[in-house]
């Protein structure tokens, strides 16, 4: 992980933007737009209640209203509360026993430290963030395709929170992890943030949809980190806040260079892979050179012995484009029979021999289809570009064509192309068969490539630098589908090859390994010199050498178009086609005199997002620290100090305790932005430890508990409910990370999908019993139990969940397959744990309430079990299962005091 110090040392220039066009607008009097200042904790009358300044702020407010804080919650209650709050799970019996037995004055603090150190802490708190960034694992719309490797982002959030990553880094990496110097794989994974939203693969207006997606990104980023309703200014000036439309478009500029999502994962080098690869490559290079030198020596010796004459039936050169003979419009075949045409600006540069052809991505040549049966194509290539596609999918037509006859669809075509990370691949169609090289040929050096195809056997082989990279058997048909061949671009268009090609030669049969080696070594006489080396031990050695593989990771991450980003313009009424005036890149003026950072472009991107992240996370940003302090508070107390935690503007709520909020925001900064430290600070306060019991005076004076005179009781979240059911019956699987799981869904739910048979996956019972954060989030098919308990809708940022009570929840919890199966597992556990119905029921009560069973509660269930046996002919086992169903439906189980 990147340390804080490293991030601070980034080579990004801080500069104060001179108000070029106009003075920057201020946010006026509104509280949120004022600079952050640390308030003094107020004096209070009952100082004994004050454990931390938090309590002083809260108590001062209560005393002012003539109110008193509720008494401290009992030990069972506080343990249950804090365990759910910090891990999303109930305390275990051992944890309860240990806490009750611990008489030390810091027994509670020890519990807090234990919980914060638990890896389950990150699992719980990650979900809060995932709601805000609208984490889902599919795109929505017609195909609702899975987002590849999106779960790595979810795991990144869990890990970051568990590692207590400073909030600055937490934000910076998500917004611009890829732009950090020496970005790690994890830094790239964090930028999966940009790929979480809805995406229509078949939009009616592609440009407009691209901007709808960008709007989702900009709006979510602004709400998540700054709590401003940025999206409201897309089409017109903000109705309430001083946020003009042009500020929106200035802000959007930070994201406009992002390459549109295309369902594709990215493949990047694994951490340390480059070093490993380079070391292996160095060894390989030495070995390879030794073999070549030896071959060369043998070849010259033999050639000299035979007076330089080669022997054997040489293959015929069908066409040859050597780069020396080309004009601005024509690519000339040496023999003059098969001249090609130049499209774009193919230029000549000094090549491997004489001149070579240079392609800049937009340029290409067309030549006639010179071969179709048995053939070889041989050429030299040089590039330092990564190539198109990704190295997990090395089918030749995914890359940028070097020499290519690719036609979309399964047809009789062929080609040689350049794929991500400098892989060379080649293949034939119908059926699609391909061979590919190792990665890393994008080293800016010349490499010889030969692709051979024998029509009779169907054999295909690819050679790089005289060594076979792979062989396979493909089609035996004539490869006639392409009318002509393309050099420098894959046939279906798109991005072309960037680099140089030289000595492109077609032969009328598949060359032998020796012939290819002779070409690669540039032996005098070319292929004819093959005889001189054929059968030598040096050639055998060379053919046995294998280039090292490049270790990679596939992930979902952001990518930009390149270093140069477009200047932002206003899009009138939010319509992408209605181009308004150009605006400078920038952040909302209402947030004060902003210290802006000039983007420092990296090799692949504009550096704009890193500049934005730096601005968001500067200590004097007025919003950031209040916003995160408020979110932390919100998820401990059930509501933020500002209830609208995504909107601190005039459309949002005012803070109930503005001074406390500012004090907490300053604490975030003072505690090196450690969120765990903030959790500890908050949950050890007297304010947090109050009972949820009501008193008449409190209810009369402050029914909404604006003043925090008691702790607000809350319903467990959807995830907590499901996880707690699994915890109660002892089947909860705490395994973390990896691809999502598929708990079994009722057929009736699967039938609502447009492809009922393939809508959902299948997990083993053990996997299906993992925590709910790992349940697949499919936009068109929400998991019904979690959805009915108000799991966030993922199409837009969800700062605060609903917590509804509705009959459909009752139906699923009483009649549903899941609830009934879990009740059975619960009963089985009780029978394993203890003997005798009464003891089993008492134990069951303890497992759902985390407190000793009350006698009358046990008696009630014993009576129920007896009735079920006597009146309904149930066995004791069946009766216990039904009692367990009751336990799982208890309010005491579902609510947290």
């Amino acid at each position: 992980m990147m340390t804080r110090r490293l991030i601070c040392a980034l080579p990004v220039l801080a500069l104060t933007v001179a108000s070029a066009q106009e003075p920057r607008r201020s946010g006026g009097e509104w509280w949120a737009y004022q600079p952050l200042k640390r308030p003094e904790a107020p004096a209070v009358r009952d100082a004994s209640w004050v454990r931390s300044p938090i309590d002083a702020f809260v108590l001062a407010g209560l005393e002012e209203r003539g109110m008193r804080p509720a008494p401290e919650a009992d030990r069972h209650t506080i343990l249950r509360r804090v365990t759910y709050d910090l891990t999303g799970l109930p305390p275990t019996q051992d944890e309860i026993d240990a806490f009750l037995a611990d008489d030390s004055p810091d027994a509670y603090e020890k519990v807090v430290d234990r919980l914060l150190a638990s890896p389950q802490h990150g699992v719980k708190w990650a979900q809060h963030w995932l709601d805000v960034v609208r984490y889902a694992e599919t795109d929505g719309y017609e195909r609702d395709s899975k987002k590849p490797f999106v779960w790595r982002y979810r795991d990144w959030v869990v890990d970051a929170l568990n590692a207590d990553m400073p909030y600055r880094d937490f934000v910076t990496k998500q917004l611009a992890g890829d732009e950090l110097p020496d970005a790690t794989v994890a830094d790239h994974v964090a930028t999966g943030f940009y790929r979480l939203g809805i995406w229509d693969d078949e939009p009616t207006d592609r440009q407009q949809h691209r901007y709808d997606v960008l709007d989702g990104i900009a709006d979510t980023a602004a709400r998540a980190t700054l709590a401003i309703s940025m999206g409201c200014a897309r089409c017109h000036d903000h109705k309430k806040d001083p946020l003009p439309q042009k500020d929106y478009h200035s802000f959007l500029g930070y994201f406009e260079n992002i390459a549109p999502y295309n369902k594709q994962s990215r493949t990047i080098p694994a951490d340390g892979a480059r070093e490993k690869f380079e070391a292996a490559s160095a060894t390989f290079a030495i070995e390879s050179k030794r073999c070549r030198d030896e071959l060369m020596r043998v070849a010259y010796e033999r050639l000299a012995a035979k007076g330089g004459a080669a022997e054997g039936a040489a293959p015929r050169v069908v066409a040859r484009y050597d780069g020396d003979v080309a004009s601005a419009t024509a690519l000339l075949d040496e023999s003059g029979e098969h001249d090609g045409k130049v499209f774009g600006q193919v230029v000549q540069v000094p090549g491997r021999k004489g001149q070579a052809l240079r392609f800049d991505g937009d340029d290409f040549c067309r030549i006639p289809r010179v071969v179709e049966d048995s053939f070889s194509v041989s050429f030299f290539v040089r590039s330092d570009q990564p190539g198109r596609g990704n190295v997990r999918d090395k089918r030749w037509f995914t890359g940028t064509g070097l020499v290519d006859g690719e036609i979309p669809g399964i047809v009789d075509d062929w080609g040689v192309s350049w794929i991500a990370e400098g892989v060379i691949a080649a293949g034939t169609g119908r059926p699609e068969k391909f061979v590919s090289s190792a990665a890393g040929y994008n080293d800016g050096e010349w490499h010889h490539v030969a692709f051979t195809r024998d029509r009779r056997s169907g054999k295909l082989a690819l050679f790089v630098d005289g060594q076979m990279a792979g062989e396979t058997v493909g089609s035996k048909r004539p490869l006639r589908t392409p009318e002509d061949l393309v050099i420098g671009r894959a046939r279906p268009g798109g991005e072309g090859f960037r680099g140089d090609l030289d000595e492109i030669t077609f032969y009328d049969r598949a060359l032998s390994a020796a012939e290819v080696a002779a070409l690669a070594l540039e032996l005098p006489g070319g292929v004819a010199a093959a005889a001189a080396i054929d059968g030598t031990s040096a050639l055998k050695q060379l053919s046995r050498l294998r280039a090292p593989e490049f270790e990679t990771v596939e992930l979902l991450a952001v990518r930009e178009h390149g270093r140069d980003a477009p200047e932002p313009i206003v899009r009138l009424r939010g319509n992408v086609h209605a181009r308004g005036p150009q605006v400078p890149l920038g952040v909302p003026g209402m947030l004060g005199e902003a210290k802006l950072f000039a983007p420092a472009p990296t090799r692949q991107s504009s550096g704009r997002r890193l500049a934005l992240a730096r601005w968001i996370t500067t200590e004097d940003n007025r919003m950031t620290w209040r916003v995160i302090a408020n979110r932390v508070w919100q998820h401990h107390f059930g509501r933020g100090i500002v209830r609208s935690s995504n909107d601190f503007g005039r459309l949002g709520d005012r803070p109930t305790h503005p001074q406390l909020l500012d004090w907490l925001a300053c604490e975030v900064l003072d505690r090196e932005q450690s969120l765990k430290s903030m959790h500890r600070l908050i949950v050890t306060s007297s304010t947090y430890r109050m009972s949820s019991d009501a008193d008449e005076r409190g209810l009369a004076k402050d029914p909404l508990n604006d003043a925090f005179w008691r702790f607000d009781r809350r319903r467990l979240t959807a995830e907590e409910i499901r996880d707690s059911i699994l915890a109660a019956n002892g089947t909860l699987n705490l395994e973390r990370g990896g691809p999502s799981i598929y708990p079994q869904l009722p057929q009736a739910v699967l039938d609502t999908a447009s492809r009922p048979g393939s809508a959902w996956g299948r997990s083993s019972p053990e996997q299906a019993a993992r925590r709910s954060i790992y349940v697949h989030v499919k936009r068109s098919l929400p998991e019904p139990l979690l959805a009915s308990f108000d799991r966030a809708d993922t199409d837009s940022s969800c700062p605060v969940r609903f917590a509804t009570v509705q009959p459909t929840q009752a139906l699923s919890m009483v009649n549903g397959d899941f609830a009934n199966l879990q009740a059975e597992l619960f009963a089985q556990r009780l029978r394993r744990d203890t003997k005798g119905l009464r003891a089993q029921l008492a134990r069951g009560l303890e497992l759902v309430s985390q407190r000793p069973a009350r006698r009358d509660d046990v008696a009630r269930l014993v009576k129920l079990a007896a009735d079920l046996q006597a009146d309904f002919g149930r066995s004791e086992k069946q009766a216990l299962q039904r009692c367990c169903l009751v336990l799982l439906n208890c309010n005491e189980f579902i609510f947290l005091d």
């Binding site: 009616t204 609208s644 098919l781 605060v800 009570v805 139906l811 309904f872 005491e892």
Partner: protein, 484 residues
């Protein structure tokens, strides 16, 4: 706190959301905390009401319920209800024509002449094709909009547009808005039900009946015409109703004991109450789908005796039963899954439309007849249509398949205070685009809301800093010409 805003010691907003069967989030309060949160809609005045309690409309409604017959996939208007005589002789000819569909934008196309004959029906003399002879009999009760247009000619976004008013995913559906705005008269049934095709849901699945940024309580409930009508409605295998009652009684006692120390907490009380509501739903919903007592002639009328029409017929009959029982919004899908499982006739138009019209013509006519004879048609709007129509030209070099067309298509409505026997708007003479009185999907939505007593420009839900509306930011007028 100003006592004016208090209800029995609670604020109005807390009250609305916490009261029996209602919402319980204190966190939620942030979204409700501005005065006038509900200004656009109608909170119930009943202090014990839940979120689905009946709420007074904005104005006197013409319609109490809406049945939306969704012809998923996009039926061809020029082969059904939009008579284009000039199209027949052009069959097979390639003409200059601007189209935009799945295959992108084109400026030429091979005309596919309508594959069915049109005849005039009723006193109004409207032209209807041979695909809908039964429906044709009720033409004098219907109002056609021949000039519909939508923002997208592609299923994914077009479905969202027709159901939620936007091509971007995440907004509540028309049924959710009705549910939110009016509540339901029958607490024992959902206020918004959806019946899907037996081949599967439409693309985007639940998004088509989702409540988007509203609470899930407003989303559509999938109702199955046979077996367990609603998910988890059936008592588990082997458990009798009496046994379950005994279990629920024990649960209630348990929860009441818990409540006794927390008596101020209406949420806990609401949750106790929710089990009683669920229990009542268990007995009412099966009754609602039990058609055993329907007369033989009714069953025949809906085509339940014919395997072609049995499925859709049963759903139409259930739609009537739902409306009778106070359900506000019923959506019935004709077509599901992909390709020829729905009206998406890209390949063989004749095969596709014969199949789907054949399955729906008689049931739809029966629904109109049945509603009418029971006096329900006057207070129920029936809406027919798909997410778009189809092009007059062929999609491929061969075959009769037509590509999507959102530039002009036909929908019709009947009942619920909609004018009878009228037609509004026109497409060009080839049926390619709306040319006279073009009407957007939003105007259709506005009309439905208006007929149900809701002002489309006032019905709002505060989300993400905006009073969100079904019809969007700009005011939209109901289609006056269609309102009786």
């Amino acid at each position: 706190m100003n006592p004016r805003n208090m209800f029995c010691g609670r604020t109005r907003r807390e009250f609305l959301w916490q009261a029996g069967g209602g919402f319980t989030s204190l966190g939620l309060v942030d979204m409700l905390s501005r005065d006038g949160f509900f200004s656009g809609s109608r909170p119930s005045d009943d202090p014990n009401a839940g979120p689905l309690a009946p709420k007074p409309p904005h104005h006197a409604p013409k319609a109490k319920a809406c049945i939306f017959l969704f012809m998923y996939g996009g039926p061809s208007h020029v082969d059904t209800f939009d008579y284009k005589p000039k199209l027949y002789p052009l069959d097979g000819k390639t003409i200059d024509i601007q189209t935009k569909g799945r295959g992108g934008s084109k400026s030429k196309g091979r005309v596919v002449g309508p594959k069915w004959k049109f005849s005039q029906y009723g006193e109004s003399g409207r032209w209807i094709s041979d695909l809908f002879p039964h429906v044709g009999r009720y033409v004098d009760d219907m109002a056609f909009i021949h000039s519909m247009y939508a923002d997208s000619p592609l299923h994914g976004s077009a479905m969202l547009m027709m159901n939620s008013g936007r091509i971007l995913s995440g907004a509540p559906c028309l049924g959710s808005w009705v549910n939110y705005g009016l509540g339901t008269e029958n607490q024992n049934l959902p206020g918004f039900v959806v019946m899907l095709d037996k081949t599967g849901g439409p693309i985007s699945g639940a998004k088509n009946w989702h409540s988007g940024y509203m609470p899930a309580v407003y989303q559509g409930t999938v109702l199955r015409p046979t077996g367990e009508p609603i998910l988890d409605l059936d008592v588990p295998n082997g458990m009798s109703d009496r046994e379950q009652r005994r279990i629920l009684d024990a649960l209630r006692e348990q929860n009441e004991a818990h409540l006794s120390h927390r008596s101020e907490d209406t949420t806990l009380a609401a949750r106790i109450q929710s089990y009683e509501l669920a229990y009542r739903m268990q007995s009412h919903a099966p009754e609602a789908i039990d058609i055993a007592n329907e007369s033989a002639s009714t069953k025949t009328l809906y085509g339940l005796d014919d395997p072609r029409t049995e499925d859709f017929g049963r759903k139409c009959l259930l739609a009537r039963r739902m409306v009778e029982r106070g359900v506000r919004f019923v959506q019935v899908y004709s077509g599901g899954n992909h390709n020829d499982h729905n009206w998406d006739a890209h390949g063989d138009l004749e095969h596709n439309h014969s199949k789907h019209a054949g399955a729906t013509d008689k049931p739809i006519a029966a629904l109109l007849a049945d509603l009418k004879q029971r006096g329900l048609l006057d207070e129920t709007i029936v809406v027919w249509g798909g997410e778009f129509g189809r092009q007059p030209t062929a999609e491929y070099a061969q075959g009769t398949g037509r590509d999507h067309n959102s530039a002009g298509f036909t929908m019709w409505m009947a009942g619920g205070g909609i004018k009878k026997g009228v037609a509004l708007g026109k497409t060009d003479e080839l049926g390619n685009a709306a040319v006279e009185r073009p009407l957007h999907v939003k105007e259709l939505h506005a009309t439905i809301l208006h007929q149900m007593g809701l002002d489309p420009n006032r019905l709002s839900f505060f989300h993400a800093g905006l009073d969100q509306k079904l019809v969007g930011v700009e005011p939209v007028k109901p289609i006056r010409e269609l309102i009786a």
